[in-house]
Amino acid sequence: MAGDFGNLERGKFPTILKETHADSLTQPFWDAAKEDRLVCQHCTNCGTFRMPPSPFCFNCQSRDHDYPELPGTGTVYSFTVVRHPLHPDLAECCPYVSGVVELDGTQGAGARMLVNIIDCDPDAVRIGDKVEIVFEHVTEEMSTPRFRPLSG
């Protein structure tokens, strides 16, 4: 895969998987992503949100669900600053921040995403920081979700 990373940008991890490999449960997420909207699978039986989309609700075992749109903001739940590239060809994007973001609109301690957090000073990121989603439209099917500090 060496050389497949394209032009790397410091702080931004490249899209190494360019296909979504979607099924009927995950396709709605990627369809919304193309339109810069964040949707999250939601159990219509008990109200639990879950990410990524999956067949059963872990709370009530129902398969009934819909995909409400979320505000697209969230809170940094945890993170790491990757300083050492795992492959020499990735050196240009280090350091970058990747972590766990809790999604607003999912009942507080609800659904989370594991994402690259961009446009930030790696040494200034803290747990509890407010962030917002930004999609990069990489291919016809893949819009890579990342988060960045919420402006203002």
């Binding site: 998987l17 490999h21 990524p52 999956s54 790491t80 970058y96 990747s98 301690a109 989370r112």
Partner: protein, 409 residues
């Protein structure tokens, strides 16, 4: 009540030498597995004709291949504890269950590891993709035949290696409890000091707190000395009934308890923290396992003389100290800083062999070996009067596991 408590014992331990990553060549994982198994049988005073079972974990070896290679007369038990290094000592409980129910008599548990063309932890791009996509098998042995739909939700996020993942737990722990890098450093320093007086340790050279803080930061808050080393080698142990063990060559080391599992929603854990409940996030995943293990053994943390805690990452030792009840939840940092884990002076000596951080990393089995040697009284850094040892499998995806081993007194 039916129980495996003290019904079976570890009677033999066999190993290859420990090698730094890649240096076991031209040995192979198969040849090292066979070497360790034969050595373990010999240590017990048994032969290949006695061996009739395999209880493995983390796909360590293929019993069919090893059985054919060594000419095992009849295999009556061949199971693997699922997932990875988390199940290490759970495999001892599976072996004991098989023996206690009369399904086999003499079972080997082992790990063999060679990192010549591949490395654990996804340190090559191919490995990255594997780690990005793992943990979504759904349980079919035939796989889904392609990239699972959930892979696209993690493959491009830059979280590629176990270290990237355990940093999330560590950082959260620091945030919740005020844990510091100075406190976590104590795990690395204590382990390295123990390695200094263990002739088989691969990293015996001393380090100081300044060395720790000057070490390369791999990914915050984990520096070079928070990471396990990468090693090659094989370690095998033989389990049989306690009754039979008493007539064999070595003093028996009883399996007082061994449990594996965890809270369902801990799930695959690594790289899949989407839904881990908040109250479990900054843990090792071991709490329910620890509870069942202590109940099975009929002991508590204050009865443990030496703890061999799986240390792929230094902070996970701290968190296991909490989850196994050596200190209250959230107080692992101060507990370390007070010198509690030091060999010779601490309240609970931890990783007296130097652990994965400084002795060798054979996915957990080096800890089992050390526990057996401590209870036989032959360890390099012998804990005086050691009668009860705790050994754990790695904090990782389910199942994680813990075991209480004890001297036959």
């Amino acid at each position: 009540m039916n129980t495996i408590r003290d019904k079976c014992a570890i009677v033999g331990v066999g190993t290859t030498e420990y090698y730094k990553r890649g240096q076991s060549y031209p040995e192979t994982e198969l040849s090292m597995a066979c070497t360790a198994i034969l050595a373990a049988l010999d240590d017990a005073g048994l032969t290949i004709n006695d061996l009739d079972g395999f209880s493995i974990y983390s796909s360590s070896c293929d019993p069919a291949t090893v059985g054919a290679e060594l000419g095992v007369p009849e295999i009556r038990w061949a199971t693997t504890t699922t997932s990875g290094g988390g199940g290490c000592v759970g495999a001892l409980g599976v072996a004991a269950s098989a023996i206690e129910t009369g399904q086999a008599t003499t079972i080997v548990s082992l790990m063999t590891l060679q990192q010549l063309n591949r490395r654990l932890g996804g340190s090559a791009v191919g490995g990255m993709m594997m780690f990005a996509m793992m943990s979504d098998g759904g349980g079919s042995p035939y796989g889904g035949g392609g990239v699972p739909p959930s892979a696209a939700f993690t493959a491009n996020n830059g979280l590629l290696s176990p270290g990237h993942s355990f940093a999330q737990i560590t950082n959260r722990h620091m945030h919740l409890y005020g844990t510091t890098r100075e406190q976590i450093a104590e795990v690395a320093l204590s382990s390295r000091k123990n390695a200094g007086t263990n002739p088989r340790a691969l990293r015996p050279e001393p380090i100081t707190i300044d060395d720790y803080f000057n070490a390369r930061m791999i990914n915050d808050p984990l520096c070079l000395f928070d990471y396990t080393m990468e090693s090659d080698g094989a370690v095998a142990v033989i389990t049989t009934s306690t009754e039979r063990a008493r007539n064999l060559k070595q003093p028996p080391v009883l399996i007082s308890a061994a449990s594996h599992g965890g809270t369902g929603r801990w799930g695959p854990a690594l790289f899949r923290y989407f839904q881990t409940p908040d109250e479990y996030f900054a843990t090792s995943g071991h709490r329910p396992v620890a509870k069942r293990m202590y109940e099975m053994a009929g002991v508590g943390p204050s009865d443990v003389d030496v703890a061999l805690l799986y240390d792929h990452f230094a902070p996970m030792v701290m968190i296991q100290l909490e989850d196994y009840g050596f200190c209250p939840i959230g107080e692992g940092g101060p507990f370390l800083a007070d010198g509690n884990i030091r060999y010779g002076t601490g309240s609970i000596p931890v990783n007296t062999h130097g652990g994965n951080l400084s002795e060798a990393y054979i996915i957990g089995m080096t800890h089992v070996r050390e526990a057996v040697e401590q209870l036989r009284g032959t360890a390099a850094n012998q804990v005086e009067g050691a009668e009860v040892a705790l050994v754990t499998g790695g904090p990782a995806g389910l199942p994680v596991s813990g075991a209480i081993l004890r001297k036959d007194v």
